[in-house]
Symmetry: D2
């Protein structure tokens, strides 16, 4: 009997982790518990822990997110998270900790595993994003974690260069693609009924997700305004999903509310059910904003992406992505290209995809369950 304690703090993480959870619970002799923390438990961010509960996982609540838009709020919340997570891990005494990415819960979990001598499996390490503290945090997590599941070969190589022992590093692809692969198709009718929208077959619509950057907090509201001005001038139907809980998000949400009230063709949602979201991704003319799904999922779905601003820049990416600055005209131009330029659209349909084949979860789960928990695993050694 192996006990896995997974930790998740935000909707976007959960969507990547969920197929791995599904795979774990499908095994007998595995007990999975999920610590829900951070934005999942915040009313401002739509109480997304309920998704996880509804999906049937055994959850443990850990409230830690301060109601703050200061950088300090994020950092103090992390301290609270480490305190609470320590108590939980002492009580649960799991065999493995499982975490993903580069957010507060990632480093909190890696620290707790390190100090409590419990191995940490880390998904999505080795990546590289610029203009954000996420990079520093992600690489620090790599130096603490005991097993690495990078999404691409390039990321795996970066982890090796950082001095991790090769047997700890397993390139597995992005587990989010597993769930996209498995998601059944929904009709426009069905989507419209659920969202109160007016989307139509053969009429292009835009899916917009834009998050604040920790290094550009002060401009977050203005950046959202520029994107929404571009969108409102073009007049395509646009579905917005709220930004994550980082500093700056309150300002962005205010701007979103303002445009939503003004324009009938702009609709915003705090969060969307997974099946709706995947079907919107499949049907959208383009993904707009700076969501990592533009990098990670769009090449699998073969859809165009217009990435605005510095987030995601210098990250490994496929050919289906157009990078533009926070400039209304440049954004409009790129949207037009993504919707009307047949050649570009065609190229997107055949774009390369370094992010996996939709079968990552099985790989992760098999490797975790087959790795002996011994001093070799627990005593990390840098290779040089």
């Amino acid at each position: 009997m192996k006990k896995i304690l997974a930790v998740t703090g935000i909707r976007s993480e959960y969507f990547i982790l969920q197929p791995v959870f599904e795979e774990f619970v499908s095994k007998k002799d595995v007990c999975l518990k999920v610590v829900v923390t951070g934005a999942h438990l915040s009313p401002v961010h739509g109480y997304t822990y309920k998704l996880i509960e509804r999906d049937g996982y055994d959850i443990i609540k850990l409230e830690n997110l301060l109601s703050s838009d200061f950088l300090s709020g994020r950092c103090k919340s992390l301290g609270i998270q480490i305190m609470g997570l320590t108590d939980i891990v002492v009580r649960e005494n799991p065999d493995w900790l499982l975490v993903l990415g580069d957010r507060e819960e990632s480093i909190a979990t890696a620290i707790v595993g390190t100090y409590l001598n419990i191995p940490v499996a880390h998904i999505c390490g080795g990546d590289r994003v610029v203009g954000n503290i996420d990079d520093s945090v992600r690489h620090a997590v790599t130096k603490l974690a005991h097993l690495h599941f990078p999404v691409t070969r390039e990321n795996g190589e970066r982890i090796l260069k950082m001095g991790e022992e090769p047997w700890r590093v397993h390139v597995v692809g992005n587990p989010a693609l597993d769930s996209i692969r498995k998601q059944p198709d929904l009709s426009f009718d069905c989507i419209n009924k659920k969202l109160g929208t007016d989307l139509k077959e053969n009429t292009s619509f835009i899916l917009l997700i834009q998050h604040p950057l920790s290094s550009e907090v002060g401009q977050a509201g203005e950046q959202m305004r520029i994107t929404l001005q571009a969108v409102s001038e073009l007049g395509y139907y646009t579905i917005i999903i709220y930004p994550n809980s980082d500093a700056g998000s309150y300002e962005m949400i205010k701007v979103i509310n303002e445009f939503e009230q003004k324009y009938d063709f702009i609709k915003a949602y705090k969060t969307l059910p997974r099946d709706i979201f995947v079907n919107l991704q499949r049907k959208t003319a383009l993904l707009l904003g700076n969501s990592s799904s533009g990098i990670l999922e769009a090449p699998f779905l073969k859809i165009p992406v217009v990435n605005v601003g510095n987030r995601q820049r210098q990250r490994q990416h496929s050919e289906n992505i157009i990078f533009v600055p926070h400039d209304k005209e440049k954004i409009k131009e790129a949207i037009n290209k993504a919707i009307n330029d047949k050649e570009f659209i065609n190229m997107c349909k055949n774009c390369s995809n370094p992010y996996g084949d939709g079968y990552s979860s099985k790989r992760i789960v098999d490797i975790v369950l087959n790795t002996p928990i011994d001093s070799k695993l627990l005593n990390k050694q840098i290779v040089y």
Copy 2:
């Protein structure tokens, strides 16, 4: 006017940091404040914050160390530390954070600097010690910190390999040597008066410092017992300094108390004034245990070291060090060699010293004060 906020949690750190503090306060246009936290504020560990206060620095107290001998106590204490340090940094708004090594306060400071966008200068990164979580923590701190001051060339190269931008890495030597260099000589009379000891010129005595290992917590008491059995059978006068506050230390202190009561020639101290300690190092026949000063300071002082157990193993070291397991006979043999083997003692007197020349603090302070605080400094990029 530059404001530096340094963070220290334990006596051993402070001794390395103190010459850097001294150099900072010697500059006009620099304001130094020192956050004292961790073991410094614990009565079990001798209230060493008083040393720092007595040395005249402007201190800010941050209590966080739980009265615990569990691994969880250390980890939860770290969460408390991050919470309190965030409040302090918000209030002080320093230009730089300064921290050293691989303990809780090191990663707490690196995290707070990262999330609050304040540059972190990190001393003693890039080192390599095996059989301990310190390595993971130290390398994670490196991935978060903005300026690196490794002690040796080898350590500096390790930091570069981990992907840090070369302009961030400055090999400066160990600042602890600066204070050793400057410390005035004390006579045996003076030392005996202060310590209540009975040390004599031309009579060999041993200086013993042995810490618990996080991966061998359960054996900590027994390991101390083996060392003290060796010492007590040989009968050399032995000065013990208490272990640090890590899990296992309570057990070790119990054993120390037991031997101290039994043998007149064994004397233990919670902590020692810096001047006494340096003079004991200069005069001792050998350094016994597993203190990092055996690695870092002994080659500068040209004294023999007998390092017991796995701590410090596989670390870069000079020729003056004999590694032995927790085996009474092997320890006795090594002590005898260090005290009586003329050839070995001579070799120690001429041993190589990769750890610096006693002028490190000036280098650190000049580099910190001359590094512009801009987005180049704050936005870290991995080089590959």
Copy 3:
């Protein structure tokens, strides 16, 4: 030189405390610092700490409010507050702690003062409100605090009955009235310009402030909806101020937003500048909802109050208040009475006022500064 450390966590408290602060800073040999915490630092509640900063007080920020609508969020936030406040009090080492009322910061401050042996002056103790945990908290604070400044004689007597030594109890009146008394008159033009409203001389408008009850969290949204249905059916111009940060407030704000978008004559504000607020109180036809200002300030201003639901019930009150349940028709009827019943309006103009004369702050400050800080003050004894 006396150092006073005041603690405030929410706008409503600050408005009562502010005249006391003003009186303290007018004294030479007094240093006042204000810890701003709780809802003051939350973007959801309009960052009201900026008011305090703008008023020129020396503030210390203490973030503690979790982004939560669970009861647990409030309680965990209180733990965080005690941790941070302890650090601040250790650092500031004040002569006195000053706090008000029955919220988290009240009991946090009383606890910190008790454990750190620093006297706590408590304003607004002895009051009685039913259907809320506030009563329990307020009386617990009384049992911890060292000097009591109840607002009314009745409250003072309640404190004495609880066993407090008589010399600790001083009935002073409500300091909020001091600032109402001093506030200059503003014209409707001026108010309309600042609020974007359309208020007119001789046209009745309503001022609505309704908070959630801890014992009726689940109904908070629905309760707000009932009040707003009554208001919208009557059609009087209505100015709403957002509820405080207690559990349930998010639901209430959602309902407010909905009605505000539907009806031109309903206007909602997260917070209002003090001068505007006082002038609205002076000019309004009635105060609607369950704000304590209906109890505490309305009798001084001689305006009618319609108090909805269980909050404020069984509290000492004057004759100008009509209590109604959460029942649309009953609310409409009461509003009509308050606006149209000449006899009732006349009676309000002559109502009794047990809440003070607008000169409370001077009394509080003089007593605090003249009370010797000795073991008599610090060692509390119950009288029976």
Copy 4:
């Protein structure tokens, strides 16, 4: 099925609570969990949580005690405790919280119950001790708790005077007497074997327990020294139990160690098994120090008490107690009286006992299980 969550932070509390626990687990349809926190988890205080675990209760660990001898350490620890206890209560969702006395865990539990709307049963409220913050804390807990189990009629009346509704107040006697009543007799041989002592039938020995006072922290060590000087000059065999974890205790322990090393007839123990302790109480010539067991248990056991200093003064007590100041000669005189004055010893054998009959637990458990959990219970009202 009723779920009871009890909270205990220190050995002395546990000994009173244990018979109540025993009674609860004897009921079917009751699930009892015990949160062990505070000094129970501290190595300095002998890891007393192990007693509770060994007694077979289902424990939940909550580490919170800072390694500190400052007043601030206690207060910050309380904040940590509230944070962790909130998480635990959210997860366990008990029907009742159960706590005792006037320590940090008492007020922490009362606060958590109040804010989370879970009823709190409080044992030992209404008592009165002078020269300590315990009084303030105990009365504050009374104002928060929902059901009161005072030990004596006098204490019950004090609670009523404080304005608690009469149906909440149940005078039940001290449950510690239940366990004393049930404890089997042990022979001197058996005790000597377990303790390594040399106690003899017909030879008087002293049982000494002395705690620090929060208002006299600085004198704690000296106070212990005076008592031990008296004891050492008289030469009676003396069994010392270590003080609790309050500020000042480290200094006291140092003094104890010093005397224990000097005098063969002085033996100190961090903690004692319950059966040994009760038998020592039964057999001792007198109880010396300031332990509350001198007030609460000695009249049931009919043994003399010499109470030193201000702790316990002005508390309700029986005739078997002699109060003396911290004065060596006075202490010696009182010890002599307690050991040699036949008349006094006889009077002790017939002393009055307001503290119960050894059947308190059954009363508490029956009342808790028969009190409906409804709004009447949860909405506290002061009676005046």
